[in-house]
């Protein structure tokens, strides 16, 4: 090797080799849209988590004389709802339930769907048929209808809505996981791993999972907004949370009667759902393009 070539090699190694995820994170922080979305989501999540320490009004304390105040009323920066409760406090506290209902089902479905999809895609044959055809049965129902049907059967309540939303999101994640895995398992490095005598579990863990988690994760992040909307929908129909605890979907339902009296306040829960879901969508787009690193 010539001296120049050696120098190039040395210079190349000075820039410390970082892992794949390190590179992705660096690219993500360079995308302004993703950074802004992540900041908004972080702010909303932190506000929801630390709500009791923010010095807000009691979100459950109503008042018969201060009903449906406009946005900007002194003492009520975002107005009051139809029972005279402070909207700012209710929106912040409502984020606790709404975010959990948006994130937890997707997280659970991500774990279950990835497991099923990777097994179906890697093992193939009859196992694949068995898993994927069962998923197709769930796919036959529109997701809203399926969530409503399961929630209706199980009865109203937060745990039941979590279960029904998880069931709704397992099939699409399984399907994505299966198709990504099928692509990866035909690559030579999987054959090379088999040729070194490794069993299917080891190969799936070491060689398949690392290469499929990224795309599945991005897809799942895109589902968070859908899940929040579905959760809001379930609450709206009275199948999710029960009054008086605040939840954006349920608040939207309650305030719809006030739409002609005070439309701005009535729309606020919807605005929150909109902001959070669009931030999750844009962030998942950002992650998708940041992960598109090629040699």
């Amino acid at each position: 090797m010539s001296a120049i070539a050696e120098d190039i090699v040395r210079i190349a190694t000075v820039e410390k080799t970082r892992g794949y995820w390190g590179t992705v994170l660096r690219r993500l922080t360079r995308d302004p849209v993703s950074v802004v979305c992540a900041a908004i989501l972080l702010a909303i999540a932190l506000a929801a988590i630390f709500a009791p320490w923010l010095g807000l009004a009691d979100p459950l304390q109503g008042s018969g004389i201060r009903r449906l105040r406009w946005i900007g009323t002194p003492g009520y920066p975002l107005g009051t709802d139809d029972l005279g409760r402070d909207m700012l406090a209710r929106l912040v506290y409502g984020g606790r339930l709404s975010l959990v209902l948006g994130l937890l089902p997707v997280a659970l479905a991500f774990a279950i769907g990835t497991t099923l999809g990777v097994i179906a895609g890697y093992v193939g044959g009859m196992v694949n048929q068995a898993i994927m055809r069962v998923m197709d049965v769930f796919y036959a129902f529109p997701s809203v209808l399926l969530a409503v049907a399961i929630s209706g059967t199980l009865g109203a309540g937060i745990v039941n809505s979590l279960v029904s939303l998880t069931v709704v999101f397992v099939p699409p994640i399984t399907r994505v996981a299966e198709s990504v895995t099928t692509g990866v398992r035909n690559l030579d490095f999987v054959d090379a791993a088999r040729a070194s005598g490794a069993g299917p579990m080891t190969i799936m863990r070491v060689h398949v999972l690392g290469n499929v988690l990224g795309p599945i994760f991005v897809y799942a992040t895109g589902l968070i907004s859908v899940c929040m909307i579905l959760a809001a929908g379930l609450s709206f129909l009275g199948l999710g949370t029960k009054p008086p605890s605040p939840e954006w979907g349920f608040m939207l339902n309650q305030l719809r009667t006030a739409i002609y009296v005070n439309p701005w306040v009535a729309a606020l829960p919807g605005v929150m759902i909109f902001i959070v879901s669009i931030c999750f969508n844009l962030l998942s787009d950002g992650v998708r393009s940041a992960m598109d690193v090629r040699g």
Binding site: Y20, A195, G197, G199, G295
Partner: protein
């Protein structure tokens, strides 16, 4: 043998005379699903292939793309299950006395595509250490072994061990693939078009590396390639395949000096020559090989053979020895008793008819 010393070299069993690998009657047919109205077929990717590889030998396998070279390699290492045939490794039948897992310690493979054969999410050292770890070697020991192998294939572990495949050039990646194949101390390495994707200067370096490693580790190679120059350079013996069958088998110099099968002759004539006075002006054989789905009857080469006679499409020629030097060909012209009008004549005379 305990799990701890699994990466130690495997002891020889049958002595130097016993072939390291003997394959008999190996076949693999893939079903092709037809359209709505049926019409599916069977791809006879590998059909009744027999070959043997002596200890310390380099066996070249050549043929056009789609002739079953790679499928043969994948069958030998057990990546796909054969429909028929048996594989003996150093006298031990695979699947019977020798488990697939044990076979894969003794036989390793280097793939053509250096990029897709490395996991993009693993560092170079993790990729090389994976095999030994699977066989029970402690992670630290496996990593030390990976570093040692990197040094052996000419890559400085200090620079390369922590890198990812996309940070390496094609030649470097193929060196990593070779190191990975050697990590389990195999006795036989299948090189499936291992240098074909590299450019010529890098190809030469990797070929020389392969020759050095062969001496150092006492390896045996099956070298699969479509590049006849490379095969001639590295091989001791050559097997020529056409549409899933072996058509000719010979020591490397005998194949060039005394070609018996018309297909081999056409292949050799198609080799680009650097000598302008020996310029090829006419394609030695016309057209593409026929589809391996429902291949031609009798001798599969009869559709493109200049010497084809009715006999050739009716009966399949057996692979018959043409002398005592291990030269064999599957052509009716080689067998004096076949009834072919040119049977028994020297093919070189026939070329000028």
């Amino acid at each position: 043998m305990s799990e701890a010393d699994l990466t130690a070299p495997v002891a020889d069993v049958g002595g130097p005379q016993q072939p390291l690998l003997a394959v008999r009657g190996l076949s693999k047919h893939f079903a092709v699903r037809g359209g709505l109205l049926g019409g599916g077929g069977v791809v006879r990717a590998v059909d009744d292939v027999s070959l043997s590889v002596g200890k310390g030998e380099v066996l070249g396998i050549v043929g056009e793309s789609g002739c079953g070279k790679s499928t043969t390699a994948r069958l030998i290492i057990g990546l796909i299950a054969p429909d028929a045939g048996e594989i003996m490794f150093d006298g031990e039948p695979v699947g019977d006395r020798l488990s697939l897992r044990e076979l894969r310690r003794r036989v390793q493979m280097v793939f053509q595509d250096s990029y897709s054969s490395l996991n993009p999410r693993l560092t170079i050292e993790d990729t090389i250490a994976f095999g030994p770890t699977v066989h029970g070697v402690a992670p630290g020991e496996a990593r030390a072994r990976a570093h040692d192998l990197l040094r052996k294939v000419g890559l400085d572990p200090a620079l390369f061990a922590g890198r990812y495949p996309h940070e390496l050039s094609g030649g470097q990646r193929q060196r990593v693939n070779i190191a990975r194949a050697l990590a389990l101390s195999p006795r036989l390495v299948l090189l499936d078009e291992a240098v074909s994707a590299l450019d010529k200067s890098v190809e030469a370096q990797v070929l020389n590396l392969l020759i050095d490693l062969k001496t150092e580790f006492g390896l045996t190679y099956v070298f699969i390639s479509h590049d006849l120059n490379v095969v001639r350079f590295i091989s001791d013996r050559v097997v020529v395949m056409y549409l899933g069958e072996v058509v000719e088998e010979a020591p490397v110099e005998a194949l060039w000096a005394d070609t018996r099968h018309p297909y081999t002759r056409a292949l050799l004539a198609a080799m680009p020559s650097l000598d302008p006075s020996r310029r090829t002006e006419q394609a030695p054989i016309a057209g593409d090989p026929p589809s391996p789905i429902n291949p031609p009857s009798g001798c599969r080469f009869h559709t493109r053979c200049p010497f084809a006679e009715p006999l050739c499409s009716a009966r399949r020629p057996a692979l018959l020895p043409t002398g005592n030097d291990g030269h064999a060909a599957a052509c009716h012209m080689v067998d004096p008793a076949s009834g072919h009008s040119r049977a028994g004549k020297d093919i070189k005379e026939q070329a000028h008819v």
